[in-house]
């Protein structure tokens, strides 16, 4: 199939002024500012097929938002090309924006002082959605998101979860072909996150919308995306299936133990002797170990430990997305040197 989004060698520089210190430095800055060029996005290329849901991830300042801003046509790149469905986002802005939807998790696109339904009425006119399509879409949103109950409240009185549901509906009212989501679950509680994820799943299946999603939450990626693109310092470091990524980092799991009696890490190592668990060196009541799911299950490790010593608490954790990104990045650096 022909990709709906094509990105080639996309690059964006920011000009920064490096401030000198002190009063004297400030005066010098006035006349001879030291300019520095920061390359936020560096030769990024990828293709996205229609109907795909892709996670675009990276640490803060990695260049995620800058990429999304160029894809949505807000920002003009320094060099490189983007076409979305044959259109160049920052050139044919009016035509292009009719076909896309976007949610920026930190900001609402709803009109703050107006009732939610007024915002939808306005969006209907902005995108020239006809009455039938409007009724159909609002019906779908109510079925999936239950927005009817707060449709007549002003936006400023909604909870974050309610607001996010409305924002998602607002971004999809005109049945866009491509949806950009920047941190759609940020600040939401577990139920809120689950609602958003379920909704996005349904919408993808029902309306075939292509989704690009940036997030800090690995849960979003796991529930929604089969493919991830990892960006760090402006460069693409990984582009592929989530499973491939897992295998590359070995899907490490971290086990934290609280014991009733102090033990040294050497003793723990002995206890789990034949299991592939690596323990952090230390004495006392608190210990941390790491193992890989493909080598050993959590249940096996826990069984051995619980049998061998007195455990008061234990906790299993998957690494945060930043950590995976950091690992990928470290791997790349090691590969280069």
């Amino acid at each position: 199939m022909e990709p709906i989004i094509q990105v080639r060698d996309l690059t964006r520089d920011y000009k920064l002024i490096r401030k000198r210190e002190g009063v004297k430095g400030g005066l010098i800055d006035l006349f001879r500012p030291r300019r520095k060029i920061l390359r936020a996005v560096d030769q990024v290329s990828f293709d996205i097929q229609p109907g795909e849901m892709v996670g675009y991830i990276g640490a803060n300042g990695a260049g995620k938002s800058t990429t999304i801003k160029m894809l949505t046509g807000i920002l003009t790149p320094t060099s490189g090309q983007v076409t979305v469905g044959g259109l160049v986002p920052w050139r044919q802005r009016q035509q292009y924006t009719r076909n896309i939807g976007a949610v920026f998790g930190q900001r609402t696109q709803l009109w703050w002082d107006l009732a939610v339904v007024e915002s939808f009425g306005l969006l209907k006119k902005i995108y020239e959605v006809d009455d039938d399509a409007y009724r159909r879409q609002m019906g779908t949103f109510n079925d999936l998101l239950g927005i009817d109950e707060f449709l007549h409240q002003p936006v400023r009185k909604l909870s974050l979860g309610q607001r996010m549901r409305c924002d998602l509906a607002a971004a999809l009212l005109h049945e866009p072909r491509v949806l950009f989501l920047d941190e759609p679950t940020i600040g939401l509680d577990v139920v809120g996150k689950e609602n958003v994820r379920k909704f996005l799943h349904e919408i993808r299946d029902q309306q075939g919308v292509t989704v690009i999603l940036t997030t800090h939450d690995l849960g979003d990626i796991e529930k929604l995306c089969r493919r991830v693109i990892i960006i760090d310092k402006g460069k693409v470091h990984f582009d592929g299936e989530l499973d491939t990524l897992r295998n590359r980092t070995g899907n490490p799991v971290r086990l934290t133990l609280e014991l009733r009696e102090p033990v040294s890490s050497a003793t723990l190592k002995e206890m789990t002797g034949n299991l592939p668990v690596s323990w952090q060196a230390g004495e006392g009541l608190r210990h941390q170990g790491e193992f890989h799911r493909r080598e050993v299950t959590g249940a096996e490790v826990i069984k051995v430990i619980v049998n061998a010593c007195k455990v008061s608490e234990l906790h299993l954790a998957e690494p945060a997305i930043e950590e995976i990104v950091a690992r990928i990045y470290r791997d790349v650096q090691e590969g280069e040197s």
């Binding site: 046509g73 003009t76 900001r107 020239e128």
Partner: protein, 293 residues
């Protein structure tokens, strides 16, 4: 594989003319509703505008009285800057009533939108931000006319015995002139707001604007009070179209072709500033750096 290209390409789209009219009228309506929700704020405004006019009433009363003492009679000294005391008071009252109508904060709204990054959400909508802001300003002024200018009139007109224009048709021309003033005022504000694309901090510029505007538009003093050279300069600037022109129309100082000419110049400035705004917006957005990311 059939339909592959239709899958991967976006449908071309243009909003119909009717759709565009309906949309922008909707912005007018929403702005009206929004300000209606905050109407309490404007009751204090009625008081402060009235105090302003009152202050000027006594100031000019004293000024004209001192002239009379100097000249010994009303005959030689009853005109200052070409206006009688009654005209002077009318000038002040009408210009402040006008200001209560055309006033808006587009420059502040736009600059804070640019500084805080909210502009992103505007740029991903298929409309022109400039047009949206203009029509929202129309809605705001509609609200101001009903909830602000009218109450001020009700208080100020009987209080200072403000007389109507010499010809009742001039009511209509004055209103039309103030409507053009609204366009000029809004477009200048829009251009000022666009400065935020290029400057880190434009709060200083905006504060200077607040002071300079009331002078340059003629709200504070009629231009005839100023030296010749100042009058020549302001005649070539758009600001006189905001207050001085509509108020002098009301006073009957412009008749016949003078009146038509004044309105045409206002119209020309409206169109010119609108086009300038479009151009500046286009250039600014191309080199925009939205905060964050």
């Amino acid at each position: 594989m059939t339909g592959v290209t239709s899958v991967a390409s976006l449908t071309p789209w243009h909003r119909s003319v009717l759709g565009t009219v309906v949309l922008y009228l909707h912005f007018v309506r929403l702005a009206f509703l929004k300000f209606l929700a905050y109407r309490l704020r404007y009751y204090t405004g009625v008081v402060s505008y009235t105090i302003f006019v009152t202050g000027h009433y006594y100031l000019y009363g004293a000024l004209f009285a001192s002239r009379v003492v100097e000249h010994g009679s009303m005959e030689g000294g009853n005109l200052i800057g070409g206006l009688t005391l009654t005209e002077m008071i009318t000038y002040v009252a009408v210009s402040w009533i006008g200001r209560s109508f055309y006033f808006n904060n587009i420059h502040r709204d736009l600059s804070s939108m640019i500084e805080e990054g909210g502009i992103s959400l505007q740029l991903i909508k298929p409309y022109h931000v400039q047009d949206v802001m203009m029509f929202e300003a129309v809605g705001e002024s509609g609200f101001r006319l009903v909830m602000f200018s009218l109450p001020i009139m009700v208080v100020v007109v009987p209080l200072f015995d403000i007389s109507g224009p010499p010809d009742s048709m001039l009511y209509l021309w004055t209103f039309l002139s103030f409507c053009l003033a609204l366009v000029i005022y809004s477009q200048i504000n829009f251009l000022l707001g666009c400065l935020a694309f290029h400057m880190k901090n434009i709060q200083g510029v905006l504060r200077a604007k607040m002071v300079a505007f009331d002078f340059l538009t003629g709200v504070i003093l009629p231009f005839t009070f100023f030296p010749e050279w100042f009058q020549t300069i302001v005649a070539w600037l758009p600001f006189q179209g905001i207050s001085y022109v509509p108020v002098t129309i009301y006073l009957g100082k412009r008749a016949g072709s003078d009146l038509v000419w004044a309105l045409l110049i206002q119209l020309a400035w409206s169109v010119g500033l609108y086009l300038a705004g479009r151009l500046v917006w286009f250039i600014s957005v191309r080199r925009v750096t939205v905060q964050g990311g």
